[in-house]
């Protein structure tokens, strides 16, 4: 009798000891954040940019004590640009890796597919790139946020730029999926609103994403009576497009040309001087547009680490990690629902100024940047942006009613 109780006591003590160690080791465990980006294939460069921005933020945060006293650790999964793969990746990250939060998504198609599964996972997701208005619109939910500029914001700004020009006849060349079609739709609606006498041509051009040869569409626009053209082709396709357009003399025509993601640094560095001067270029974040302490530090750290100016995708991903730091510290926990709640309405200092996640739709009130391509930058080997315009984040955003989001 005595012996057994002694034995029990020993077992209990051992158990308590293990619990104790488990407890302490839990507190020292790093906070894991899952990143879902395109890490292979044509658009792999976007995933790599995001990783560069994230690594910078994680190193800075870890060097200054981490989040809630815990170090931060990233776990990445390749979305391959496919919604089904991304959904599987998110489940794997949450259920088997045990990540506390998610960042990512490079493509509108992936975002539209994955966002509806977020409430099931009970973890917050900050989208850092994908631009479809739907995910902070009719598909919105309590766990999904976006820190980057969306199509609606960028096209409102584009319409304001277009309205200032003399062009009345407008057409578009864009990739034949959600992004290209939604860009034209939002641009057209806003432009018509601002300047009712514009003519949105019915002859639109939507080449296949990854089409390689854009000459047929370039010729078609050159032979039409378009005075302005909105081009939402992006990435490697855009590099192809511009080089092929150059050989056709596309930019010599008296036409307003607007590239909705033309000031992406990866496109500018690939093209160098082949990017024509005098065309309207936009990006979700232009590294030279913001004069604040966070941006100075970010741009300098990025250039020191990687030797090139940061792309918009690196900035969004960098800021998203800081958003989690602030939200987790405000919530005092890494619990998914609490962190998601803390993000709602939260304001933070990011490289592109003070960023607020609007409570009504979880879209960050950030500004698209538009400018006109200028002379080459003497050191960075890319075109500069002149006549830079930084729009007011609130002004270019849709109203909550317009988004169709009900939270």
């Amino acid at each position: 009798m005595k012996k057994t109780s002694m034995k029990k006591l020993l077992v209990a003590m051992t158990a308590a000891a293990t619990l104790g160690t488990a407890g302490t080791s839990y507190a020292e465990d790093p906070i894991q954040i899952g990143g879902i980006y395109i890490l292979s294939g044509s658009a792999a460069t976007y995933g790599e940019f995001a990783q560069k921005g994230i690594n910078l933020a994680v190193d800075e945060i870890n060097a200054s004590g981490g989040i809630l006293g815990r170090q931060v650790e990233m776990v990445y999964e390749d979305s391959q640009g496919k919604a089904s793969v991304a959904i599987q990746a998110a489940r794997k990250l949450v259920y088997s890796e045990g990540v506390e939060a998610l960042v990512g998504l490079d493509s509108s198609g992936v975002a539209q597919g994955m966002v509806p599964t977020m409430p099931e996972l009970q973890k917050p997701l900050i989208i850092t790139h994908a631009a479809t208005p739907d995910v902070t619109g009719k598909l919105c939910n309590p766990f999904t946020y976006r820190i980057s500029v969306n199509v609606a914001q960028n096209m409102k700004a584009a319409a304001l730029v277009a309205a200032e020009t003399d062009a009345t006849n407008w057409t578009t060349i864009g990739p034949d999926y959600a992004f290209g079609h939604q860009s034209w739709e939002f641009f057209g609606n806003y432009l018509k609103e601002i300047k009712p006498d514009v003519n949105l041509m019915s002859e639109t051009n939507f080449p296949r994403f990854g089409a390689e040869d854009f000459t047929p569409f370039i010729d078609r626009v050159m032979n039409s009576d378009a005075e302005g053209v909105l081009i939402s082709v992006w990435g490697g396709d855009l590099v192809n497009f511009i080089r092929q357009a150059n050989t056709r003399g596309f930019f010599d025509k008296d036409m307003e040309v607007m590239f909705t993601v033309g000031a992406a640094t990866e496109v500018l560095s690939a093209l160098g001087e082949e990017m024509p001067e005098g065309v309207h270029l936009s990006t979700r974040y232009w590294y030279d547009a913001y004069d604040n302490e966070v941006n100075d530090r970010f741009v300098k750290a990025y250039m020191d680490a990687y030797g090139t100016p940061p792309s918009y995708n690196a900035e969004g991903a960098y800021a998203a990690i800081y958003a989690y730091k602030q939200a987790m510290e405000a919530a005092g926990t890494t619990e998914g629902p609490a962190v998601a709640k803390a993000l709602s309405g939260m304001s933070m200092e990011a490289p592109n100024g003070t960023v607020t996640f609007r409570a009504g739709d979880h879209q960050a009130m950030v500004s698209p940047n538009w400018g006109v391509s200028g002379p080459m930058h003497p050191e960075h080997g890319i075109r500069t942006l002149t006549n830079l315009q930084i729009f007011d984040g609130e002004e270019v955003a849709r109203t909550i009613e317009e988004t169709g989001c009900k939270l």
Binding site: E48, D219, T247
Partner: protein, 289 residues
Amino acid sequence: MSGIGAALLNSLDIGLLLFIIAVGLNIVFGVLNIINFAHGALYMLGAYLAFTLINLVGMPFWAALLLAPIGVAILAVIIDRVLLRFIYSRDVADSLLLTFAILLIINESVRVVWGSGIHVVQPPQLLSGSVELLGSSVSTYSLFVIVIGLLLLAGLWYLFNRTRVGRIMRAAALDRDMAEALCINTRMVVTGVFAFGAWLAAVGGVVAAPMRALDPGMGDKIIIESFIVVVIGGLGSFPGALLGAIILGLIHGFGGRYLPEVNLLLPFLGMALVLLFKPNGIMGKGATA
């Protein structure tokens, strides 16, 4: 319509580039009975090697056009001797699996070696301008692509119909055992044909480099196009590759200009129509031939 001349030339330059790539795929299938999924990856390697030789080493374009395909052909010999030789006697499906693995390895290696960024190659000075032709301005480089395509077409025709090497290749394609019995070293033929197919893919890659941006997914894009060409023209058929490539070129060149609303659909519609009426492709003998 002034655009028709431009559309025609554009169709030809798309089509002949596709021909250079698809004909390699077809020759390899015809002789080795292997559907080479890695063909697009070899095309990409050709382009990246050219990029390295031109932009990083500083060689002229012409030297790259000569050297890069040879480099890829040497790699193909290694792939054949180390991996492929074990599966020649097996089912076509096994070759699909193995070459898909090779594709993944090459894709990932390209990303590791050259990074995931977008690269461009400048056309040689001689070909960088544009000329007036058929009522519209055409880039000199796309005329060059047409010329190279026609030269290769003529060369291949001569090789297969007028030379001993070509006759041996055809014999090996027709009946490998019989060829062996006639004292033809089929093992060398097999390796040679695979390397030759890779050489063609790489020539396509070098020729494409000055007009297509280089990224680690460029091989995947071209392999899909090449398969469409092969399905339309007929698997394993030399004239089929030409016909399929020209048809797909015309679909792209004219479809984009005159039927842009359905341009996404057209190649597949073309493929479906061919499959409906000629299940083995217009010139095809079928996978069992």
